[in-house]
Structure formats: structure tokens, C-alpha cells
């Protein structure tokens, strides 16, 4: 709220601020700032110094949802903020050093874990990045991971669908803290290779309080056979730029989380195990992804295939409750302990495919199909293993002002279906503004 007040004051006084004499060049540690004279929706409040800039963006997404698992005989209806994110980013005093800080006010501080393992969900990004050249960047901090599926590379406000696919939701941690490198290499003709190296906690935002187990090591290689997308279009789902020539990126990702302490790396510290001496021992979690994004003349298609596996140490003899108490796996065989540990990890495969077309009247129509295939011993994340979605969007100012209506059908696995329920139908309506 304080920031909003600040923004309001800045906006109210923009004219006066712009009157500051431009001949006053910044000197030493004091920089004269200027407000950008013009404004377009989505640009945020932009302040410039002689060296760089800082922007303040606020997005709000309000949603209505109606779901039913028995043919709308009984409905669950809700209204909610889906996102309300304040983002500050810039490079105000050194063009090679940028920062990014983002808070989502629609979250709250209640976490899935309690006590010493609690963490807050509001902070989504806090990053310091050093770019020695435009094609190389090293960063340290919290941000959406490069080594998740391509859907997570797209900001929530720029997604085509209201929520991420079932496959991404099952296997992607989204946010994580660590050190990352991003490069860009021309490899002949218009071909581009972008490698991403990642060394993170593997515990998402929960790792901000305390790290459990080892680190998560990951690599992504993105291959662009037809040059870069226009205006950073690979970071948005819909083909707003209406690419005049086909654009494609194909990505391959592999990561290993040495010592995973949650189902998919979302809330580290949730599941802890110990050996005979009650030293913490954790399974290793491996994830591999192939994904792509294609755009051409208003049409886009996005897809991902994900496979995960785990290596469970044989030295595990018990688990820690959230309270911190150690409970031995009394009477369980090695195989039973192995399957018990796996039952708290999202293990299996899945693929998601989505495509859509943006009409010239700024209407878009898209569809998505996701399929989850769980291992025999795994957490129960894939009860609804076939997921269908259709969405109609009216863009009033690109992704910065849009209205969306989505219908989803999440079908239960055959052996879980009953005479009264074969899946869940969901209707959603969302209004998005990005200031």
C-alpha cells in the first residue's frame, strides 16, 4: 500500500518532476530522476536516471470460478484474486547491474509447512543480475526457474490460459533461489543457441528459511533455428506480434535435485527422512523435459514432455514429522521404505500440448490437452490424468487488459471413476489489468 501511495504521489506530481532542468546531469552518488512523459498500459511507472531506469508495475487478475464433479448437480463457486503482483525492476545506477523484486499480494504468509519450516508465499522474485555483455548474464537470487517447463518461462499475466497445465502444475517448482547463467550464441545463419545453467536450493521459496539436503543442478539448452522471436515473443504465449516468418524454439532440460525434501521442489523441508543415527537423508529427484514454442502469423503452439524419477537411499530408517519428531519405519522392509518415500514424490511422466490463434480483431481461441502418467509408487498427483481446456480471450490492450472465459474438464483415471463422477468440470471467467 505504501508503494501504491508512492506511485500515486509520483503520478500526481509528474509534470513538476519533468520540469527539473535537464542540464543537471547526475554527479557522484546523486542522480536526477525523470518520469517518462508518455504512458501506455502495461509499461508501469517508469523513472529514468542518466544511467538507467526503474519501473514499477502492478497487475491484478480477478477470477470467478464455478466447478462441479458431478455434472453441475452441486457447484463450488468462488471469486478470488488470482494475482496481484507488484514488480520493481531496473538498473538505476549501473547499466550492467539490474535488479528485480516482485511481491504477489494475492498470496498470504500461510505456508504448507509450519514452525521452523514455515515460509512466506508473497515474495516471488528478488534478484541481482550482472550482465558483462548483452549476451551473457549471471544472476543470484529468487526467480522463476529456467529449468522448469516452458510454461513457467511465461509470466502469469502473459499466459494464454488462466492456469498452467496439469503437467506443469505437477512437476514444476516454478520459483527457486540460486545462481544462474544465461548466454546467447549465434551458431551460423540465423540459428541461435541459448544455454541456461542453474545451481539452486531445489526447495523453492521454503529454502529462504533453511536449506535441506544438497543443491539442485540443472541445464537448459534452447535452440532457435529461425532467429529470435520478435520483441521477446518467446516470453508470451499468444502471437501478439503476428510473426511474419515462422519462429520456433526447441528446448531440452535436465536437472537433478540432490536431496529432495518436497514432492516437486515447491515447499522444501516438507518431507524429511533420517538414517539409523537420525541424520537427515533424502532422495535424489531427476527431471528431464523436452519443450517447444512455435509462432506464425497469429498462430502459436506450445508443448512439453516431462519425465521424473527418484533415487531413494537405502539408509533411510524413518521420517521426521513437521513437529520435528523422528518416527522410525518400524517393521517395514527396504522395498516398503523405498515405496513409502516415493509416495511423497511426484514421479511419472506427462505431456501437454496447447495451440491458439489470435484473430485480427484481437479475439483469440485456444485449446489445451494435458496427460499425466504416474509411476506405481508415487504421490497421488495424477488422479485427474486427462485434462482438456478451451479458452476464449478478448484482448483490449494486449495482455495488459483482457477478459477471458475458460472451460476445463479434468477426467479421472478410469479406475477412480464412479457412476456419479467421471471428472471435474470447471468454468472460469477472469479479468486482467497490468498497469
Amino acid at each position: 500500500m505504501a508503494l501504491l501511495a508512492m506511485v500515486s504521489f509520483l503520478l500526481c506530481k509528474s509534470i513538476q518532476a519533468q520540469e527539473i532542468d535537464s542540464s543537471l546531469a547526475s554527479s557522484g552518488n546523486v542522480h536526477i530522476l525523470r518520469l517518462q512523459k508518455s504512458y501506455r498500459l502495461g509499461e508501469g511507472l517508469l523513472i529514468r536516471s542518466s544511467v538507467g531506469r526503474i519501473t514499477f508495475n502492478q497487475s491484478i487478475q480477478t477470477a470467478f470460478i464455478d466447478s462441479s464433479s458431478n455434472g453441475f448437480s452441486n457447484n463450488n463457486i468462488g471469486l478470488s484474486y488470482r494475482r496481484a503482483r507488484l514488480t520493481m525492476r531496473g538498473n538505476i545506477f549501473d547499466k550492467n547491474i539490474t535488479f528485480n523484486l516482485r511481491v504477489n499480494f494475492s498470496s498470504n504468509y500461510a505456508s504448507a509447512t509450519t514452525g521452523s519450516r514455515s515460509f512466506n508465499n508473497e515474495l516471488e522474485e528478488a534478484l541481482i543480475q550482472y550482465s558483462p555483455s548483452p549476451t551473457h548474464a549471471i544472476s543470484i537470487g529468487l526467480r522463476a526457474d529456467y529449468i522448469d517447463s516452458r510454461e513457467t518461462r511465461i509470466e502469469g499475466e502473459d499466459q494464454d490460459f488462466i492456469g498452467r497445465s496439469a503437467v506443469s502444475s505437477a512437476y514444476d517448482a516454478v520459483f527457486d533461489y540460486g545462481i544462474r547463467y544465461v548466454g546467447k550464441y549465434k551458431i551460423g545463419g540465423k540459428q541461435i543457441l541459448k544455454p541456461y545453467l542453474s545451481l539452486t536450493t531445489g526447495e523453492s521459496r521454503a529454502g529462504l528459511q533453511k536449506n535441506y539436503g544438497g543443491l539442485k543442478y540443472g541445464i537448459r539448452i534452447d535452440y532457435y533455428p529461425f532467429d529470435d522471436f520478435s520483441h521477446g515473443g518467446d516470453a508470451r504465449a499468444i502471437d501478439e506480434e503476428r510473426e511474419p516468418t515462422p519462429k520456433l524454439v526447441i528446448g531440452a532440460v535436465c536437472s537433478i535435485n540432490k536431496g529432495a525434501s518436497s514432492a516437486a521442489g515447491v515447499n522444501g523441508g516438507r518431507y524429511l527422512y533420517g538414517d539409523a543415527n537420525q541424520n537427515i537423508v533424502l532422495p535424489d529427484y531427476t527431471k528431464c523435459i523436452l519443450d517447444y514454442l512455435f509462432k506464425y502469423r497469429g498462430f502459436y503452439s506450445l508443448g512439453s514432455i516431462i519425465a521424473t524419477s527418484a533415487n531413494v537411499p537405502t539408509s533411510i530408517t524413518g521420517s521426521y514429522k513437521v513437529s520435528g519428531a523422528f518416527t522410525p519405519f518400524t517393521g517395514l522392509s527396504t522395498h516398503q521404505i523405498d515405496s513409502t518415500v516415493r509416495s511423497f514424490l511426484n514421479l511419472g511422466t506427462g505431456f501437454s500440448f496447447q495451440a491458439g490463434y489470435l484473430f485480427k480483431a484481437n479475439w483469440s481461441l485456444s485449446g489445451r490437452y494435458s496427460f499425466l502418467n504416474n509411476d506405481v509408487y508415487t504421490a497421488s498427483f495424477a488422479n485427474n490424468n486427462k485434462n482438456y481446456s478451451v479458452i476464449l480471450t478478448k484482448y483490449l490492450s494486449g495482455n495488459n487488459l483482457k477478459v477471458q472465459a475458460e472451460f476445463d474438464y479434468n477426467q479421472l483415471q478410469t479406475n477412480l471413476q464412479s457412476t456419479t463422477s467421471k471428472g471435474t468440470c470447471i468454468g472460469q471467467l477472469m479479468f486482467s489489468v497490468n498497469l
Binding site: 500500500m1 505504501a2 508503494l3 501511495a5 508512492m6 504521489f9 509520483l10 506530481k13 513538476q16 518532476a17 520540469e19 527539473i20 532542468d21 543537471l24 557522484g28 552518488n29 546523486v30 542522480h31 536526477i32 530522476l33 525523470r34 518520469l35 523513472i47 536516471s49 526503474i54 520493481m88 531496473g90 538505476i92 545506477f93 549501473d94 547491474i97 535488479f99 523484486l101 511481491v103 504468509y109 505456508s111 514455515s118 515460509f119 512466506n120 508473497e122 515474495l123 528478488a126 534478484l127 541481482i128 543470484i140 537470487g141 529468487l142 533461489y177 540460486g178 545462481i179 545451481l199 539452486t200 536450493t201 529454502g207 529462504l208 528459511q209 533453511k210 536449506n211 543443491l215
Partner: protein, 423 residues
């Protein structure tokens, strides 16, 4: 002598900078960014208002080796040490001020929230809210952004004590408290005097919830600067980051009396139970005495701090029928009682390289195996590099903590590498 004072100095110093610019072009508003202090908006020629927005990100890596029972355990941690958004404002010719500090590392979002009113013709300030309290040791009154030892703090608290060292870890806990604060300042010949008093909850950073015991904490502090004011908030910053061109000295004494403190350091809420007086559940009163000094000149800085924590209370028992008296031995298992001193020195050169060393020793008043305060020795050595003013700081430090009372003679070696950006 606290955040208000620090912020006021920041604002004043900033306005001096802004005024030097404004003198060239007299406009009725300025919008400035100052490296390490954030964005400042000043509005109006007369009873103008000044707004400051400063955000901080500190990322860190920690290596930790615990040597206990002839067994060494190595752990490491990647973490965000500090994530803050701070908004402060003053208006009506500085007659009214307010501050909101959000911290996103802990499990509660609001670290500070206060409103201040200028009184006594601008010679005094009355503040209500939660902010850095005035009754702690000198370096516990500086914002964590200015700490010379960079390490993790969660919602303004340091779990491992590395940021502030042994004094903080054993006798301070949280640096913020909710309550009402009054501070003033005046000259005595060439001396600058800063007295302040406060009445706080005595329950630490719990101003946003109901406190479970009726007693308040009463405290005061006086700082004397015989060689005049320090630059900005330099009297409460360990390194001489503003490079005092002339010798500067500050000597401070603080004391507090926490009535019915129900946590070991009087910095939390509802931790201690099982003390009775006349068959009625109660708590002991927690007293704290602080003496400290800081000297700075041309990049050199020397800080000395002393804390003594004791409890007070008559006819206190550990059972409701009043047969088991609360002895000092038993009290030492409930409260952090004892004393500690901290000495640290640093030098920062004109290129922004800073070298620091710190030594602290903690002595319990009484010791039994379950006492909270142990006889400990803390050593720290570190290097910081300040860039672009104080906007960017990179730090490396090594800490050695020896627990002399532990049966296992526990030793801990901790190294931190951190980078901090203020924008």
C-alpha cells in the same frame, strides 16, 4: 538514536544534497536517486513533504562446520539474507513522519510501522508504533543493511547470530519493538546530546498481535558526542562508510526494565511459563544495562559494547504452592542472564575496500547444564567491498564460535559470502 533518528539524518542529508541541486534550479519539487539510499521525492516549497522509497536485496551463501563430539558436520546454505521494501515520509515541515518497512524473508510481512510527531519546537519527536528500539546496544540499532558482517537475517532476527554477533544473539534477539518513544537532542557547548526514553510491550516484534502478559518495558538511552555529530547515521554503523574527515566519538548508555518478561530475552511473547507468586502465575522482571562507544576517523572505526542482563522479582516460585523458589540457577534455564562484551574494528579505504575484525565474549551469571547462556567466545574477520556509494556491497566473512561450557566443547566455523543491492 534509532530508526527515526537514522531516517531523519538520511532525509536531512539527502535534502542537503537535494538543496544543493535545487539551489541551481529552484523548482517546487525534486525527484532524486541517491546511491545506497533509494529514491527521494520532495514536494512543495513551504511545508513540503519528502518521501523515500528504498528496497534492498541481499543474496548469500553460507558454509558451516560444526565440530562436536570429535565429529565434524559440514552444511551449506543458499539463501536470500535480506529482502526489504522501506517507505518513509515526512511532511508539514517535518512535523509529521511515518515509516513502513516490509520484510519478505520471514513468516510475517510487516517489520516496522510507525508514526512520529515533532514536539518542543522540533527539538523532540514522539513516535508510536513498531520500530528499532532505543534500549539495545549500538550496533543493534543500525539497520541490517549497514551491518559490516553480512549474513542471513529473517524478519530482522538472526538465527545464527552472525550478523550482530554474540551480544545480539544472547541478549537482544529482535531489534524491533512496539511502543511509544520520545527522543530529543541538544547542544552542550560543542557536545551533541541525544537522550531518549520509551515504553514498549517488552514482547519483541509482536506489536501486531495481543500480548499475553500485562507488563511493559521501560527504557532509556543517552548518547553523548563530544566531538560533534557523525555524518548521516554513522554513529550506528560499524564501518566508517562515510569517512569522517575529523575524529568523531559517541558514548552511549542504555537501560531497560521489562516487567513480567515472558520470554528469555524479553523479545518474544508467551515463551516462559511455570513461575508463580502467591500461587498466581507470573514472570520475572528482566533488566538490561548497556554501555557502548564508537570512534571514527578517516576510514578507521572502533566499536566497544557491553551488555548485562539480569532478572528481578521477589517471592517467585516454580510451583504454585510456593515450595520451590526460583533460584538463579533455575532462572538461568529460563532467562538469558549474564554479561557480554564486543569489540570490533575496521578500516575502509577510499576505493571502498573494508577490512573488519570482531571479538566477543559471553559469560553466564550462573551456569548449569541447561542454562541458556553459555560461556562463549566469538571471533570474526571479514572483507567488504562497497561500490557505487553504498548501493552495492559484496562481503566475505569467517566466524569462529567456541562454546566453552558445552560438555562436548562445541565449536562452529561459519563462512558467509553475500552481495547486497539497495535501490
Amino acid at each position: 538514536m534509532n530508526l527515526i533518528y537514522v531516517c531523519t539524518l538520511l532525509l536531512v542529508s539527502t535534502m542537503v544534497g537535494a538543496q544543493s541541486v535545487s539551489n541551481l534550479v529552484p523548482k517546487d519539487s525534486t525527484l532524486l536517486y541517491i546511491n545506497g539510499e533509494g529514491t527521494f521525492l520532495r514536494l512543495g516549497k513551504k511545508e513540503g513533504a519528502t518521501f523515500n522509497l528504498a528496497s534492498t536485496i541481499q543474496s548469500g551463501f553460507q558454509f558451516n562446520q560444526l565440530d562436536s563430539a570429535s565429529s565434524k558436520t559440514n552444511t551449506n546454505r543458499l539463501s536470500l539474507n535480506l529482502v526489504r521494501i522501506s517507505f518513509t515520509a515526512s511532511g508539514l515541515s517535518d512535523k509529521v513522519s511515518l515509516g513502513v518497512v516490509n520484510d519478505f524473508t520471514g513468516s510475517s510481512g510487516l517489520l516496522e510501522g510507525w508514526v512520529g510527531i515533532s514536539v518542543l519546537n522540533n527539538h523532540g519527536k514522539l513516535t508510536l508504533g513498531q520500530r528499532q528500539t532505543n534500549t539495545n546496544n549500538r550496533l543493534a540499532m543500525a539497520d541490517e543493511r549497514y551491518a559490516s558482517v553480512m549474513a542471513q537475517s529473517l524478519a530482522g532476527k538472526s538465527n545464527d547470530g552472525i550478523v550482530y554477533g554474540g551480544l545480539m544473539q544472547n541478549f537482544v534477539g529482535s531489534t524491533r519493538e512496539g511502543g511509544i518513544f520520545f527522543e530529543t537532542n541538544f547542544n552542550l557547548n560543542k557536545w551533541r546530546i541525544y537522550p531518549s526514553v520509551s515504553i514498549t510491550t517488552g514482547k519483541g516484534q509482536n506489536f501486531f498481535t495481543t500480548q499475553s502478559a500485562p507488563g511493559f518495558k521501560y527504557g532509556g538511552r543517552i548518547d553523548v558526542m563530544p566531538l560533534g555529530d557523525f555524518k548521516k547515521n554513522g554513529a550506528f554503523v560499524a564501518d566508517d562508510i562515510y569517512r569522517e574527515s575529523k575524529p568523531k566519538l559517541a558514548i552511549g548508555i542504555a537501560g531497560s526494565y521489562n516487567v513480567q518478561a515472558n520470554s528469555p530475552i524479553g523479545s518474544d511473547n508467551g515463551i516462559i511459563a511455570g513461575i508463580y507468586k502467591g500461587g498466581v502465575a507470573t514472570d520475572a522482571n528482566y533488566r538490561k544495562l548497556v554501555a557502548d562507544a564508537i570512534f571514527k576517523c578517516n576510514g578507521f572505526s572502533l566499536v566497544g559494547e557491553y551488555i548485562n542482563g539480569t532478572i528481578a522479582g521477589k517471592n517467585l516460585y516454580t510451583n504454585s504452592i510456593g515450595t520451590k523458589q526460583l533460584t538463579t540457577q533455575i532462572a538461568s534455564t529460563l532467562y538469558n542472564i549474564g554479561s557480554a562484551f564486543n569489540v570490533q574494528g575496521s578500516y575502509i579505504n577510499t576505493d571502498g575496500w573494508a577490512f573488519n575484525v570482531r571479538y566477543a565474549h559471553i559469560t553466564p551469571e550462573n551456569y548449569i547444564a541447561t542454562s541458556l547462556v553459555h560461556n562463549q567466545t566469538w571471533f570474526t574477520g571479514g572483507i567488504n567491498k562497497y561500490l557505487s556509494g553504498n548501493a552495492l556491497k559484496i562481503g566475505l566473512n569467517v566466524n569462529y564460535i567456541q562454546d566453552n561450557n558445552s560438555v562436548l566443547l562445541k565449536k562452529m566455523l561459519t563462512g558467509n559470502l553475500a552481495i547486497q543491492l539497495i535501490f
